[in-house]
């Protein structure tokens, strides 16, 4: 399969595989936690605490309604104030500032274990909602919302759950870490999700050469005798973890009819792990594994961080800056965002942090397009990004050409290879949303 998939058109050899850790460090508890209310695309939850309130560990501070997820306090303490802070995605959001105080009700205590096998499916969805689990497979969305809509209108075939056991961005390894170190938990979380979504089959996609997890029979037991397939994306060029690539890779193996549809449910290892914690241990989402890297830090590693910890505190945990930082990148070097300040909190969708110094970070200075064709060669959907950029710059009408942008997967492979450092995928994204808006 991997060999076959290498023959696909486009794709990028990133050549910088992230360090694969086998152990993690518990980050210090923040003296002040900045709990953002919104951790996903969509509406913000309703605030349910007031200034001066005392909150327990895991207590609700924001109640989701409809399309939003609950938010829980990651530390016990006193609500000091409410601030608008900069989030990892660059937007400003309201955050609850909780000063650490009082005793922990979950940390250090023996975790309860719930036998979920007898729970009805709607109850599982309710627990997932109650614990504030979001799906970080691509853009973060509340998992319970996805599960409910998936159960109502699933694709025109036996519904499938796909679990991605590696990271979409090749420059960090958070999902990969969980899949290696906590595979049993991830699989159980996936089994809960499969049951909650009422799917008929499960596809586990990993990127190792050989599957080192449970065998077919054990997998069948874990997933309550549903059909389970294991697919390797080993050696596949980037992008290999987005929805399109996974759908194509799975269906490339199917001979007669598609094995998976775009509308099928897809989760990553982080989401499966959070489902496991929520349902099996009755624990809300309060912690996040963050892959910390970069030569701008004294120490790198995999950290288990309380949500709401500022990246400044996390950096201090790593021994501080090794030199003057030039850029702090959250969630990967290919698809991530540059942090605005050190107060930016760790959220439910923060997976990595990378600190560059001036010597290691080379900013891309845009120059004129040389028509080298590199962008067209790597585009997995066969677009010519330089041409789209030209349309974007000249505000050209050419509707047919501009509509091609609708196919763009926003993988940024074109921007990564552009010798002229042109923001190609941003231009394609702009045209895509413009064309999409007009069609609607």
């Amino acid at each position: 399969m991997a060999w076959f998939y290498n023959l696909k058109k486009g794709g990028l050899r990133t050549g910088s595989a992230a360090v694969q850790y086998t152990d993690f460090l518990n980050a210090y508890l923040p003296s002040v936690a900045l709990m953002p209310l919104l951790h996903h695309v969509g509406e913000s939850p309703r605030l349910v605490v007031r200034e001066g309130d005392r909150v327990d560990e895991g207590q609700l501070v924001g109640i989701g309604s409809g399309s939003s997820a609950h938010v829980h306090s990651s530390v016990p303490g006193i609500v000091r104030d409410f601030r608008h802070i900069r989030m990892p995605d660059g937007k400003k959001q309201l955050a609850v500032c909780i000063e650490l105080d009082g005793s922990f009700s979950l940390l250090g205590k023996r975790k309860e274990t719930v036998s979920w096998g007898f729970l009805p499916e709607p109850e599982l969805v309710r627990i997932i909602e109650e614990k504030g689990v979001i799906n970080t497979f691509s853009s973060p969305v509340p998992l319970a919302v996805q599960l409910r809509s998936f159960r109502i209108q699933h694709p025109p075939a036996p519904p499938v759950l796909l679990v991605r056991l590696f990271d979409e961005d090749p420059t960090y390894d958070t999902d990969g870490f969980l899949s290696r170190v906590y595979l049993s938990h991830v699989l159980e979380g996936a089994a809960v999700t499969a049951r909650a979504a009422d799917v008929m089959s499960i596809i586990l996609v990993h990127n190792s050469k050989e599957w080192s997890g449970p065998d077919e029979k054990e997998l069948s037991d874990i997933f309550s005798h549903r059909k389970v397939r294991v697919l390797s994306m080993y050696g596949a060029l980037y992008p290999n973890g987005n929805r399109r690539e996974l759908v194509n890779a799975v269906n490339a193996e199917e001979k007669k009819s598609p094995g998976i549809f775009w509308g099928d449910l897809m989760i990553d290892a982080v989401t499966a792990m959070n489902v496991y914690e929520a349902v099996v241990h009755n624990t809300p989402v309060m912690e996040q594994f963050v892959h910390v890297s970069g030569d701008g830090l004294v120490r790198q590693g995999m950290f288990k961080v309380r949500i709401g910890t500022s990246i400044g505190d996390l950096i201090a945990e790593c021994g501080g800056f090794s030199a003057r930082p030039e850029k702090i990148i959250i969630n990967g070097l290919v698809l991530g965002q540059a942090a605005y300040d050190l107060d930016t909190p760790v959220t439910k969708y923060t997976k990595s942090l990378c600190v560059f110094t001036k010597s290691s970070y080379k900013p891309g200075v845009e120059t004129t397009c040389t028509r080298c064709g590199e962008c067209a060669a790597v585009c997995p959907v066969g677009l010519y990004p330089a041409k789209l950029y030209q349309i974007y710059r000249t505000a050209g009408n050419s509707g047919a050409l501009r509509d091609q942008a609708l196919l763009c997967e926003e993988c940024a492979a074109c921007s990564c290879v552009c010798p002229s450092r042109i923001p190609l995928f941003q231009a394609a994204r702009y045209l895509k949303y413009a064309a999409d808006g007009e069609k609607k």
Binding site: P325, G336, A338, L342, T367, A377, V381
Partner: protein
Amino acid sequence: MKKRAFLLITSAPYMYVKPSRTKISVCMCLLILPQLLLLVMERNIGSLIVIGCTIAGSMLSEGVGDLLRRQMTLSDGTAFLSGLLVGMFLPSGFPPAAAFVISFFSMFFVKQLFGGFAGNWINPEMAAVALAYLSGSVFFPDFMVTAAAVGNAGTPFAAVPPEMISFAGFDHTVTSAVNGSFLHRLGISLPEGYISMFWDTGSPIPAFRFNFLTLAASLVLLSSGMIGWIVPSCFLFMYTLLVRLFSLVPFGGGFARGDMLFALLTGGILFCAFFVLQEGGTAPLSRPGKAIYGLVAGAAAFLLCGVGGSPVGAVFTVLVANSVTPFIELGEERAYLWRQRSESRQRVQYGK
């Protein structure tokens, strides 16, 4: 923690897998620098002055273009590289003033007429050299070999007048070592003189001279991803294949008896393959397109350079190949549309 305002927000990606255009230009200049140093060491003042003039002409042209377009491209190094490449293809005896004027006007008109750097489908450097040849062919050297001489001698190498090859002092030693160490096992032997041509052909045109340095530079360019491998490999494959199969047929030398080494080491074929042939804008975009372009260029090189040793065959080869590019790009556009249609169909099939 106090806000750190020095963190400047920029957009993704934060890693690049290919070097920047400026870096490529600077590296190419640095890789040509050893050849210039050898010119300095042998006090080839004529070539150095011509190269200086073409660089000045190109830089001035870019500067004027920048003023007209109201943008700054002079600092990215491409104008310097263009001037350097023009100078490398002009003979040492070419009038410096004419070199400056030709470099300036060719660059200016080719780039401005076609919309700036890489908007031109024709290689501006080679257009400048072609113009120089058409306006002053007397300054260019003759073919290294004539048809009559090849017919009489049997091979192009044997047909070269002795005064046109400058034998290096180490030629005999290296040739003996190469023959003795492994070539004799294959039942072949390398005549003396090829090692000299590999090191320095002694041509008055600098780009034709230091094949060893050009090949060494090509290793750096290819391994670092600064240039693609498809165009040069297809070009060299096609040219050497045709030379091997057919080059001696018109001279009664028989089929598949051509001298590939002579063809490669004379006439600036290697320099052209690695430094000139795939300049941005003049080569197709897709991998199949680049392969076709390289093969067409190889065929054109065979028709224009023949057995080798042509003073401007490589230059016109590039221009002929460039003129095919728009047609290849037409096919590419159709292929892109076909791929997009199949992508759309697939998405519909998979329920997007």
